[in-house]
Symmetry: C2
Subunit: 181 residues, 2 copies
DNA sequence: CAGATATATATTGATCCGATATATGATGAT
DNA sequence: ATCATCATATATCGGATCAATATATATCTG
């Protein structure tokens, strides 16, 4: 799934500028699913424009740089449906945190404990935020589904770290003692 | 976390060729954490060699291309520890499946149901594989921890899809009926 | 009033990824 | 017996992606 499809998908919810697309990917439901940076969005929008899948209206603003609002064309809507209809590829995960846990025995117990605590705190914060948000207000069933999915996963992660975190800290302690002898 | 660090990490478990590093990232515990392709591994090994963090022994074989076995140097081990000691960045997830669920209302109920069934089957297969594997045989605590973490997440995903999958299918059905009228 | 944050677009260099090329042994199917 | 496929093994290329940076200004905060 390339950035072009993501842009089409965001635009299917309504017209938006590149900056707004980025914001939605950072803050909204997309955050848990598929982040993209400016370096991908702007070139993607350019190509979509070339291919006639979106249009732009360049509205100059005083002071600020002119805002370029992109809109889906009928061809763009069809291209989006085509892309979404193909079977999804595998999920890709990349976790620096888990790589560190994997090699816990190479690190000090203090470091591991620190990483674990931070991660737990982060997860608890995110869970609280997601529980507090008025998900009943979400416009589509898809959004509520994905929101619930994300929440369930974060809760499972939090529970696992709470229940099993001590194992990796303990292992690191043992290997430290062994190294000291 | 770049490919260079991943290569160093794999090599810290023992000498290996580029091909073997790839295999470990595909099959082993790394699979759930951080996949890498040949297009990243070979250039990364070249740079590590330049920087004196690994050594190679080029052992020619009859028929097959000669096998290049890479080994960590003391400097390489230090570089690995340095990299692992820095605080981990955010996890990055990219799920084509969830993007499709997010826009379920644009797709047909049949398609959504198909995607859901496939994903459920995939998850159940993976859970079965992970439960059957003799994780007691895993050499390090880190590996067992990460294995257990992965399993817990997959189980949470499976449970959520089983309990809430019908919601997205239902929504798609309703929007189809509305479109037909 | 200074500094930080938010709005807004855009580029660049480094890295990453999927596809492809090359070469052969082993296994399995017809 | 022969054909196909898979596993071993290294490597590159073009396109995609990412983090950092540049530019410009309004608004909020202390």
């Amino acid at each position: 799934m390339d950035t072009k499809t993501i842009c089409l998908a965001v635009l299917s919810r309504g017209a938006a500028s590149g900056y707004e697309i980025k914001k939605m990917c950072e803050e909204g439901v997309f955050h848990h699913i598929h982040e993209v940076g400016f370096g991908s969005i702007y070139p993607a929008l350019g190509k979509l424009l070339e291919d006639g899948l979106v249009t732009v209206t360049d509205t100059p603003q005083e002071g600020r740089p002119s805002k370029k609002v992109y809109r889906l064309t009928p061809a763009g809507r069809i291209a989006l449906l085509d892309a979404l209809s193909t079977p999804p590829g595998q999920d890709r995960v990349r976790s620096e945190f888990l790589v560190r846990m994997l090699f816990a025995e190479l690190l000090g117990a203090r470091t591991i404990e620190d990483f674990l605590d931070n991660r737990l705190q982060f997860l608890q914060q995110r869970i609280a935020d997601m529980e507090n948000c008025e998900c009943g207000e979400m416009p589509t069933v898809g959004e509520r589904f994905v929101h619930g999915f994300g929440l369930a996963i974060y809760q499972a992660m939090e529970a696992y770290l709470r229940e099993h975190g001590h194992e990796v800290v303990g292992a690191s302690l043992l290997s430290e003692r062994a190294a000291a002898e």
